[in-house]
């Protein structure tokens, strides 16, 4: 039985306005468990409470009610934070420091000795490709360079758990690829990763489990293979050179008809309808370019759950 890396029980957080008035709750009884060695994707639309949850776990914000713990230590206990590496969304650094000095500074805050800090720098600078920029000031760094440095800072204390807030936000495809690879590497190193993201395609590629937060509550959680039906949602038939009258006949049984680069795409809800349409196209002068069954993606599931959750509340 693996250890529980993160546990929250009935977590509530309500911020106050500048005038001291209570705002609607950001977290409203969030209960969540993340097991050790898991990669857990924390999903929710903007304002759902993802960043607040992460801030509570990292000791930046205090809950009004409920409990939060990391490997059994309360979020108020600094022993909890010694086991965590945190990467905020759009990480901020002291602009006058170089990556080497930055890592050294945070290493000191982790209580590492000079030898430990040097060893960590050697490892992380190679892993995150920081060697060439080791002695350049952070001022003027691109988003991708900052994100690499942010990962290095999060990993400075060799934590058992990494908490990443939107680690792929604002990155170009190469940057996202780097983050994905890094997360897979962390999995291999038996680290626990808890991250929030809007980029669901990437989440689907790296996560073991996901949780969907709706209005400050955990609406759904589970392993991806359990949540996604993986049944065929629809079958897309892309055609070319099909006469318009045939398209008009087929559109009566199609769910949707739209133009694509190769020709016209007809979406059917069942294989039988798609097969029947293909036969009809072959019997005439048209051609079938492709016939693709489409299974449910995490994005489809997320949108469905979001609508369910908002409907229920």
């Amino acid at each position: 039985m693996s250890e529980i890396a993160i546990e929250t029980k009935s977590l509530c957080k309500r911020y106050r306005s500048h005038l001291g008035m209570g705002l609607p709750p950001t977290l409203d009884g969030l209960s969540l468990r993340v097991h050790e060695h898991e990669v857990f994707g924390f999903l929710g639309k903007n304002g759902a409470g993802k960043t607040t949850t992460i801030k509570i776990l990292c000791g930046l914000v205090w809950q009004n009610q409920g409990e939060a713990s990391i490997f059994g230590y309360s979020n108020r206990d600094k022993r909890a934070r010694s086991l965590v590496g945190y990467l905020p969304e759009n990480p901020y650094f002291y602009e006058y420091l170089t990556p080497r000095e930055t890592l050294d500074f945070y290493g000191k805050l982790n209580g590492a000795t000079v030898a430990e800090r040097n060893k960590r720098w050697d490892y992380l600078s190679e892993l995150l490709d920081l060697i060439d920029i080791a002695n350049q000031r952070v001022r003027g760094f691109s988003k991708g360079m900052r994100q690499r440095l942010g990962f290095a800072v999060a990993m400075a204390g060799d934590p058992r758990l990494l908490i990443l807030d939107e680690p792929m936000s604002g990155l170009d495809p190469m940057g996202r690829h780097m983050v994905r690879d890094l997360m897979l590497r962390l999995c291999e190193e038996k680290k626990t990763v808890f991250f929030s993201s809007h980029i669901l395609g990437d989440v689907e590629q790296v996560c073991d489990r996901v949780g969907i937060l709706v209005n400050g509550k955990l609406h759904r959680e589970g392993a991806l293979q359990d949540l996604l039906t993986r049944e065929t949602l629809r079958v897309d038939v892309v055609t070319r050179d099909v006469p318009e009258d045939t398209i008009a006949v087929l559109s009566t049984s199609a769910q949707r008809v739209y133009d694509v680069d190769e020709g016209v795409c007809l979406s059917f809800l069942s294989h039988d309808d798609a097969d029947a349409a293909a036969r009809k196209i072959y019997s005439g002068s048209g051609r079938v370019v492709s016939l693709t069954p489409i299974a449910e993606t995490l994005e489809d599931y997320f949108v469905r759950q979001q609508e369910d959750g908002e409907g229920a509340s």
Partner: protein, 253 residues
Amino acid sequence: MRIRAIAANTYREAIRDKVLYLLLVFGIISIVSSRILGYMSIGDELKIITDISLASISIFGALIAVLVGTNLVYKEIDKRTIYMIISRPIDRYEIILGKYLGLITLLAVTTLVMGIISALYIVLMGGSLGVIYFEAVLLIYWKLLLVTAFSVLLSSLTSPVLGAIIVLSAYVFGHGTGILIDIPVDMQGTYMESLLAAIYFVLPNLSNFDIWKEYANGIEISHTYVVWNMVYGALYTALLLYLATLVFENKDV
């Protein structure tokens, strides 16, 4: 080690602040230009130079403490650099202490620079220094420790502009608390006298640290008086830092 790391980083950040150099230059200009006012006072030239030189160290030191100090915690939160500090295995009081120590180290350097320039200038103008000069500069620095602690407290509570206004107001008021016990005869023996006396004892009396006035006028000051004022300042500073820690401990960032 954590407090030292934060202090070193705070010092490193503060010496990049352009306001610091502006105030330091103005402080030095003020010391050097004290001779102009000295010319105007017949026979008291050296007294005026000494007076203005030490007052410049006090005022410009206080401005540095307020303008840099009220930004200290606020800027970390505003620029979000605090996120990756608090999420480490560190107590929040260590952050406050580290920030405070970084700034008072910087103030030690600026006070030393202005103190040396002032001393050289006084000697150049034909004056003599003696131990009391160094005690006067030390007490100015001690006052800055207190002002810095109040600035750090305000920095944990509010914006730098509002914080600076409050600390500067308190600074001015703190130099005039003597009027609270210097009351008219018809108020003596009333509740008002007790209330004003209570306020007098609660608020720090910053003029206690200004022995440079006595020094400029050639009045003797005992070493015991200096030591007691240092104890007095240290207690106030400790209290203000404790309050700053309490505020920051429960703050959402």
